[in-house]
C-alpha cells in the first residue's frame, strides 16, 4: 500500500509539473517593469512570450510585449518562401481593415535584412518587419509550437497576451478575416 501511495504522489507531482511547464511556456509574461504581475515566471528551459525579441530593419530590438493590448498576428515569413509571399496580400489587407480596431501584424523574416528591405515595396508590406538568422528564428518558432521550423507560420496572440492559436501554412483571406473578427478586442465607447 505504501508503494502505491508513493507512486500516486510521484504521479501527482509529475502531472502538476508538466501542466505548470506548459502554462509557463505559453503564458504571456507582462512587461518586466510591471512589478505587480502575477504571471508565473518561465523556467530556464522555457521561453515566455514577452522574452521573445526580434531585430527590426531599423536595427532596433523589438519585444512581443511592445504590442501588449493589441490582437497581434506574428507572421514568420521569408522572401524565398513562395507560400509566404502568396499570403502577404491578405495580411496587408487585414492590417489595413482592422488596424484601427486594435489589430496588428508583425512579420519576423527568416532572411537577410538586405533581401527583405529590397522587396518590401514590391510586396506592399507596411507593417513592422524584423529579421533573424535561420538558427535564431527556428529556435523562436520552436518555442511557439512550430517544431518543423517551416514557413509561413503565424501565431495569433490576444490583447490579454495569451496565444489564441497558431497556424502552419498560408491563411486564406477569408480564414484570416474570420479569425480576426472572432478575437478583436472590444471597442471602447
Amino acid at each position: 500500500m505504501a508503494r502505491i501511495v508513493r507512486l500516486f504522489s510521484a504521479a501527482i507531482v509529475a502531472g502538476v509539473v508538466a501542466g505548470a511547464t506548459g502554462f509557463a511556456l505559453y503564458r504571456y509574461v507582462g512587461p518586466s517593469s510591471g512589478s505587480s504581475s502575477s504571471a508565473p515566471a518561465a523556467s530556464a528551459t522555457t521561453v515566455a512570450l514577452a522574452d521573445i525579441t526580434f531585430t527590426g530593419l531599423d536595427g532596433q530590438t523589438h519585444r512581443l510585449a511592445d504590442w501588449h493590448g493589441k490582437l497581434l498576428l506574428v507572421n514568420f515569413w521569408a522572401t524565398w518562401c513562395a507560400p509566404c509571399r502568396v499570403e502577404i496580400p491578405a495580411l496587408v489587407a487585414a492590417q489595413k481593415k482592422y488596424g484601427a480596431r486594435g489589430f496588428q501584424v508583425i512579420g519576423p523574416a527568416v532572411d537577410d535584412p538586405a533581401a527583405v528591405r529590397a522587396q518590401l515595396g514590391e510586396l506592399g508590406i507596411d507593417y513592422p518587419v524584423m529579421t533573424g538568422t535561420p538558427e535564431e528564428m527556428i529556435r523562436t518558432m520552436g518555442a511557439l509550437g512550430n517544431d518543423p521550423g517551416a514557413l509561413p507560420f503565424s501565431v495569433l496572440i490576444g490583447a490579454d497576451g495569451h496565444i489564441i492559436t497558431n497556424h502552419l501554412g498560408a491563411f486564406s483571406a477569408a480564414q484570416l478575416d474570420t479569425l480576426i473578427r472572432e478575437h478583436l478586442p472590444p471597442q471602447s465607447a
Binding site: 509529475a14 502554462f23 518543423p148
Partner: protein
C-alpha cells in the same frame, strides 16, 4: 492493479487543466501525417570522394521537394562557388509565386569537383526545399565530413 492504474491516470491528468489554461491550439496545414523536420524531409547520405570529385546524395521524402537552384556546395577555405557542381536533370515545377522553377523529388545524387582538385576533409552543403502541403523550410546548411572511397561505381 486496476485500481493503481486509475489512481495513476487521475494523478497524471491533474496537470492538464494548467497546461490548457493558455488556450493554445494547433492548426497545421491540411492533410494527414505531421510535417517532417527538414533533416528527415531532405535526408542527406554520407558524402564520398572518389576519382577527384565528391558525391552527395539525398533521399527526399514523398511529398517534399528540393529546389535545384538552391543547392550550394563549398569547401571550407575555398572561395564560395569556386568548384564545379554537376546536377542531374530536374523536374519543371510551376511555383505559385516564383513561376517556372526546377525541383528534385525522391533520390538525388550530385557531384562536385573542388577547385583545387584535392581531397577535402569537410564540405559545406546548403539545400532548400518545401512540402507539397504549402510550407517551405529555411535553407539547411551542414558541414559534413567526407569519406574517401576507392572509386565511384559505374552508373552511380
Amino acid at each position: 492493479m486496476t485500481g493503481l492504474r486509475v489512481l495513476l491516470c487521475a494523478a497524471l491528468c491533474a496537470g492538464a487543466p494548467l497546461a490548457g489554461a493558455a488556450d493554445f491550439t494547433w492548426s497545421g496545414p491540411s492533410g494527414g501525417a505531421a510535417l517532417l523536420p527538414a533533416e528527415q524531409a531532405f535526408a542527406m547520405q554520407p558524402v564520398t570522394w572518389a576519382n577527384g570529385r565528391l558525391r552527395l546524395d539525398w533521399n527526399v521524402a514523398p511529398g517534399y521537394y528540393l529546389y535545384r537552384d538552391r543547392i550550394k556546395v563549398d569547401i571550407p577555405g575555398d572561395p564560395p562557388g569556386a568548384g564545379r557542381l554537376e546536377l542531374p536533370p530536374a523536374q519543371p515545377h510551376k511555383d505559385e509565386f516564383f513561376g517556372e522553377t526546377h525541383i528534385y523529388r525522391g533520390h538525388l545524387a550530385v557531384r562536385y569537383v573542388p577547385p583545387a582538385g584535392q581531397f577535402p576533409r569537410t564540405v559545406e552543403v546548403t539545400v532548400q526545399g518545401c512540402a507539397d502541403r504549402g510550407v517551405c523550410y529555411p535553407p539547411l546548411t551542414r558541414t559534413v565530413a567526407v569519406q574517401q572511397t576507392s572509386s565511384i561505381p559505374a552508373g552511380r
